[in-house]
C-alpha cells in the first residue's frame, strides 16, 4: 500500500496518478487500434474527451446534489480541484450519456465506436485494480490463505490483485487479433467485443466480490455489487447471443446459391 508518492517536496496521491496514467495509455492504444473497428483515431479521441469532461462535471454535480446546502454556502467550490468531491456513479452515468448523445448528433456508428472504446475501458480496468492496491481501497476479507496480504492490521484476501488479474485476462480476451475482436469487425457482429468485455468484467465482479471485506449488503445477505453485476451479465449474454445468432442467419445469405456444374 502506497497512498502517497513523495517526489522531492511533492506529495502525490498514488491512486489518482495511476488512473491518470491509465487514461493516457488507454486513449493512446484506443486511437492506435481504432482502424481495427472501422473507426478513426480522431473520432475516438473526441468521444473520449467529451466523455471525460461530462464525467467530471457529472461526478461533481452528483456529489453537490447530495448535500446542496454545502455548496449554496460557497458555490465557487463547485470548481475546486478535489477528487474527494466526485461521485463515481454519477460520473460514469454522465460520461456514458454524453458519449451516446454525441454519437447520435454526429451520426457515428454506435457499436464500432464502443468496440474501439473497449481498449480504453480495458486499460482503465487494469489500472483501477492497481490504484486500489496503492490506496488500500476495495480491500479483502480476513483470511488464513497462504497468499493473503497484511492490510489494515489483518491478513486479508488480496482482492485488488485478483481484480487486476481478472482485468488483464478480460483485456487479453478482447485484444485485437483475438477471436472476439476479429469477429466484432465483421458485418452484423459489431459490438461483440464490447459486450464480451463487459460480460467478463461482470462475471469477475460476481466471483471476486465474495472475497471483499467492504461490500455493501442488501437485505442482510446479498452483496449489492454482485446483484448489479448479475443483471449486467444477463444483458451481456443476451447481447452476445444476438450477435452470434446473426452469424448463423447471415451465412446462407452470404454464400452464393449452389448450382450443379452441369447446368453451366
Amino acid at each position: 500500500m502506497l497512498p502517497i508518492l513523495h517526489i522531492g517536496p511533492l506529495a502525490l496521491p498514488t491512486a489518482q496518478l495511476i488512473m491518470l496514467l491509465g487514461f493516457w495509455l488507454g486513449l493512446e492504444l484506443a486511437e492506435k487500434q481504432a482502424h481495427h473497428f472501422r473507426t478513426s483515431p480522431a473520432q475516438i479521441y473526441h468521444l473520449t474527451l467529451i466523455g471525460l469532461a461530462a464525467g467530471l462535471a457529472g461526478a461533481r454535480l452528483t456529489y453537490a446534489t447530495r448535500t446542496p446546502s454545502a455548496f449554496l454556502a460557497s458555490p465557487l467550490n463547485l470548481l475546486a480541484p478535489r477528487p474527494e468531491m466526485l461521485d463515481p456513479a454519477g460520473g460514469w452515468a454522465a460520461a456514458a450519456l454524453a458519449i451516446l448523445v454525441t454519437m447520435r448528433i454526429r451520426r457515428l456508428p454506435l457499436w464500432p465506436s464502443l468496440d474501439a472504446l473497449t481498449t480504453l475501458l480495458a486499460v482503465l480496468a487494469v489500472t483501477l485494480g492497481l490504484a486500489h492496491f496503492a490506496s488500500g481501497e476495495a480491500f479483502g476479507a480476513p483470511t488464513q490463505a497462504l497468499w493473503g496480504i497484511e492490510l489494515w492490521g489483518e491478513r486479508r484476501h488480496p482482492t485488488q490483485i485478483y481484480e487486476t488479474l481478472a482485468a488483464l485476462l478480460a483485456a487479453a480476451a478482447v485484444w485485437p487479433g483475438r477471436r472476439a475482436a476479429v469477429l466484432s469487425a465483421q458485418a452484423g457482429r459489431a459490438g461483440l467485443r464490447f459486450w464480451v468485455f463487459m460480460g467478463l468484467g461482470a462475471a469477475a465482479r460476481i466471483f471476486i466480490e465474495s472475497f471483499r471485506g467492504d461490500s455493501i449488503i442488501l437485505l442482510g445477505s446479498f452483496r449489492q455489487a454482485q446483484v448489479i453485476a448479475w443483471f449486467v451479465l444477463a444483458i451481456c449474454l443476451w447481447q452476445i447471443g444476438q450477435r452470434l445468432g446473426q452469424q448463423h442467419q447471415a451465412v446462407p445469405e452470404e454464400k452464393p446459391p449452389h448450382e450443379p456444374i452441369s447446368s453451366i
Partner: protein, 183 residues
C-alpha cells in the same frame, strides 16, 4: 467453443444459474467496521492527548458525536490555509454535536508556534499536541495535512490527504455524518 456457440441460450442459463448460486451460497464478509485501522470503513484507532490547557482528551470519549480529526503542523502552508474554513464549520455545526480535534504534530513542530497561530486566527476548537508522534504513527500520516471524518459510531467515513480542503467539502461530509445519525 463450437458447442457453446450453437447452444448459446443453454450456456447463458447455465452461467446465470451458477452465478446466482455463487451469490447465494457465499456469505457476506465485512472486514471493516469491527477492526481498528486508519482507513475508510474501519473503527478509528483510539488515542488520548493533552490539549492546550493540559487536559486529557480521549477520542473514544467523543463516541456519539461526529468528529473531524485533522493532523497538522504550523510550518505547513496548506494546513494553515484550511483552518479558517474549519473554524467556520465548527461554529456552524458544533450546536448539532459535531466537533473538531486539531492534532498538532508537535514531535516535528514547535508547540509555541502552533499556539501563536491558533491564537492569531481565533481558533476555538480543541487543539491537541502529539509530542511523541504516536497518533501520527497510529494514523499512518505521511502527508500534511491529513483529515479523518469519523462518524458518531467511531467509524472513519472519509480520509482526505493534503489541503487546503474547500469549505463545501467540509460541510458536505459533516452534513452526511449528521444526516446518518438522525433516525
Amino acid at each position: 467453443m463450437g458447442w457453446i456457440r450453437q447452444n448459446w441460450t443453454l450456456f447463458s442459463i447455465l452461467v446465470l444459474a451458477l452465478s446466482a448460486g455463487w451469490i447465494v451460497f457465499t456469505p457476506p464478509n465485512t472486514g471493516g467496521g469491527k477492526a481498528s485501522a486508519p482507513g475508510e470503513g474501519f473503527r478509528a484507532p483510539d488515542f488520548e492527548l493533552q490539549d492546550a490547557s493540559g487536559q486529557i482528551v480521549r477520542l473514544s470519549d467523543l463516541r456519539g458525536r461526529p468528529v473531524l480529526l485533522n493532523l497538522w503542523a504550523s510550518w505547513c502552508s496548506p494546513c494553515k490555509a484550511e483552518m479558517p474554513a474549519m473554524q467556520k464549520v465548527y461554529e456552524t455545526y458544533a450546536p448539532s454535536g459535531f466537533t473538531i480535534l486539531a492534532v498538532n504534530t508537535t514531535y516535528q513542530d514547535d508547540r509555541a508556534n502552533a499556539l501563536a497561530f491558533a491564537k492569531n486566527l481565533g481558533l476555538t476548537f480543541p487543539l491537541l499536541f502529539d509530542s511523541d508522534g504516536n497518533v501520527a504513527r497510529q494514523y499512518r500520516v505521511n502527508a500534511m495535512p491529513t483529515t479523518f471524518f469519523i462518524d458518531s459510531k467511531g467509524i472513519i467515513r472519509r480520509v482526505v490527504f493534503g489541503g487546503p480542503m474547500p469549505e463545501a467539502l467540509l460541510r458536505a461530509e459533516i452534513e452526511k455524518m449528521l444526516k446518518e445519525e438522525t433516525p
